[in-house]
């Protein structure tokens, strides 16, 4: 990776995110044209008065509904992508993502229990968040990263996931009236996002992401294996545990407010590695930018394709992600970046 090419990839990723954000705030049902949207947004900056009359209802729709939703999509996309890339670095496997240790199943169980119990508002995300963390804590306890191999841990994660899924099915069976609501949650949605949805996951998102990013260089060194990494002064088991915890926190914060959105955590880091090489120093932050842009676009599609009805965003990411993934796999040189 030459310096020039490295910079170009950064520029591309930033441009992609900005374009996606612009697309997200302008496309869709609202009486405002792109110029007006721009004026309203600029008007929000302190000390700036862009002037021009805008219908107050359109303005409120943009600022209270559209904007938080677009930003939430960006946040969730960034978190899922960086968490996926972190997990892939820990397990040295491009096909794992942050749901691998049971966090999705745990979040699903938490949300299901909360919905069936009649909870509403922020209680559902809180329950999903707790369920995700509980599942991963169980998987870590069962297949402790410290002492055993990472494949043991993955198997423990699969087992925990299956258990939580079974528990969820059991809960649902006794409450078929909630089925539709639960499934809507499981398929993922950013509809109804407002500024509190954005603020609530932020602290966990920041802490989790910071922990993962801080280990970027050390994840690179782990490529030489356990023993050689130890001889270079690192504690591989400690690094893996911290990155798993940070990535789980970031992903759980995302899942809690958005439901289960697949594919982002696998497709985005994979695409980034194709363009920027495998070093986590580049892959982790670039995945955040590209993941944010990708999910903003996916959400824009989700709310416009069948407007005024909405597609579940999980359906959109899978529909976009699978062909993209196959295309990436087919065009990957053998022996190239994995």
């Amino acid at each position: 990776m030459t310096h020039r090419r490295g910079r170009l990839v950064w520029l591309l990723a930033v441009a992609f995110l900005l374009a996606a954000l612009a697309c997200g705030v302008t496309v869709g049902a609202s009486g405002l044209g792109p110029g007006e949207v721009f004026r309203v947004l600029v008007d929000q900056l302190p000390g700036v008065h862009a002037g021009g009359a805008v219908d107050p209802v359109d303005r409120a729709v943009l600022l209270q509904i559209r904007l938080p939703r677009v930003l939430l999509a960006a946040l969730v996309g960034a978190l899922l992508a960086v968490a996926g890339a972190g997990y892939q670095g820990v397990f040295r496997n491009p096909l794992v993502d942050s749901s691998m240790l049971g966090s999705s199943a745990g979040a699903g169980l938490g949300a299901t229990v909360a919905i069936v119990a009649g909870a509403a508002g922020l209680a559902v995300p809180a329950a999903a968040f707790a369920g995700a963390l509980a599942a991963v804590a169980l998987a870590l306890a069962a297949g402790s990263v410290g002492r055993t191999s990472t494949s043991t841990l993955l198997l423990a994660g699969v087992a925990v996931g299956l258990f939580f899924s079974a528990a969820q099915t059991f809960v649902l069976q006794g409450a078929t009236r909630s089925l539709q609501e639960v499934y809507a949650w499981l398929l993922g949605s950013l509809a109804g996002a407002d500024w509190t949805h954005l603020a609530q996951p932020l602290p966990y998102a920041v802490v989790g992401t910071a922990v993962v990013l801080a280990h970027a260089r050390r994840l690179d060194v782990l490529a030489v294996g356990e023993e050689e990494a130890a001889s270079l002064g690192l504690h591989p088991a400690r690094i893996r545990l911290l990155v798993v915890c940070g990535a789980t926190l970031a992903a759980a914060a995302a899942v809690a407010v958005s439901g289960l959105i697949g594919f982002v955590g696998i497709v985005v880091p994979h695409a980034v590695r194709r363009l920027a090489g495998v070093s986590h120093v580049r892959v982790l932050p670039l995945s955040m930018l590209v993941g944010a842009g990708f999910l903003v676009l996916a959400d824009t599609l989700a709310r416009t394709v069948l407007a005024p009805a909405e597609l579940p965003i999980g359906v959109v990411t899978a529909a976009l992600g699978s062909p993209l993934f196959v295309w990436i796999l087919r065009t990957t040189r053998s022996g190239g970046a994995s």
Partner: protein
């Protein structure tokens, strides 16, 4: 930098492989560990590197147990090159050699000018300068071995632990690489412990040899004392003749049974 091991016992997956090994290396010394396949040479090196918990005995690196030292601190003092280093497919030679600077980097810091200089110097010493941008996967076996050694030199250690550092090198590169290590060491550089299969070479470069057999020390001392026909026959089951080269060092010549 002195290294001393006393009564070292160590087990791998529950099987004891080292049954009480003693050895020592003085400051600036070179100890060669020789012995047949499976004798425990690699295991001893891992134990000396602090990478293997001991069942009994003690190892002291300037009085400190390497297994208990802070890892970063240990990695600045000793560098270890395993018999078969992992060569990550995606790395270039330069990126790989820079990994040797890990113990000097803060958690968030990128390698700086001094790190690049240390890596560059190591690559130059090992004549890898033409290959810096090549991927590890495209290197020949001998080039990889030199890259691994360059990474260890980039660590600027006071002790080099090398497991079969020349097994893939041709005779010219063998002499060049061992000569380079010897030069470094004579120049106030690191003390060296290396396993070597070639007994003649071991006798030429190391100032002391440890001959291991089945997890124990069968003989220890200078080359003239250890490289004898009887000892080699007893430990390796090999028929050899020991001659002298022009400098008087032993030359071990395998001979075919009549």
């Amino acid at each position: 930098m002195t290294l001393r091991a006393e009564g070292v016992r160590a087990a791998l997956d529950g099987t004891e492989v080292l049954h009480g090994v003693d050895c020592q290396v003085p400051d600036g010394g070179w100890l060669a560990v020789i012995g047949p396949n499976g004798a425990g040479k690699s295991t001893l090196l891992r134990a000396l590197a602090g990478l293997l918990p001991l069942a009994a005995g003690r190892i002291a690196l300037d009085g400190e147990d390497p297994a208990r030292m802070r890892r970063r601190e240990r990695a600045r003092r000793l560098a270890y090159v395993p018999q078969a280093p992992v060569m990550p497919a995606e790395l270039t030679v330069e990126e790989y050699v820079l990994l040797g600077r890990t113990p000097y980097l803060g958690p968030l810091a990128a390698p700086g000018a001094s790190d690049r200089a240390a890596a560059g110097e190591a690559m130059e010493r090992l004549r890898l300068t033409g290959l810096t941008r090549r991927r590890l996967t495209t290197l020949s076996g001998g080039e990889r071995q030199r890259a691994a050694l360059a990474r260890a030199l980039a660590q600027r250690p006071r002790l080099l632990l090398l497991d079969e550092p020349t097994s893939a090198l041709d005779v010219g590169h063998q002499q060049q690489v061992l000569g380079l290590v010897d030069e470094l060491r004579a120049d106030g550089g690191p003390a060296v412990v290396s396993t070597l299969h070639d007994l003649t070479t071991a006798g030429q470069y190391a100032d002391r040899l440890v001959l291991m057999a089945a997890g124990e020390v069968a003989a220890e001392g200078p080359a003239e004392k250890v490289l004898t026909e009887q000892l080699i026959h007893r430990v390796y089951g090999a028929r050899v003749e020991v001659a002298r080269d022009s400098t008087g060092r032993p030359v071990v010549i395998p001979v075919r049974a009549p």
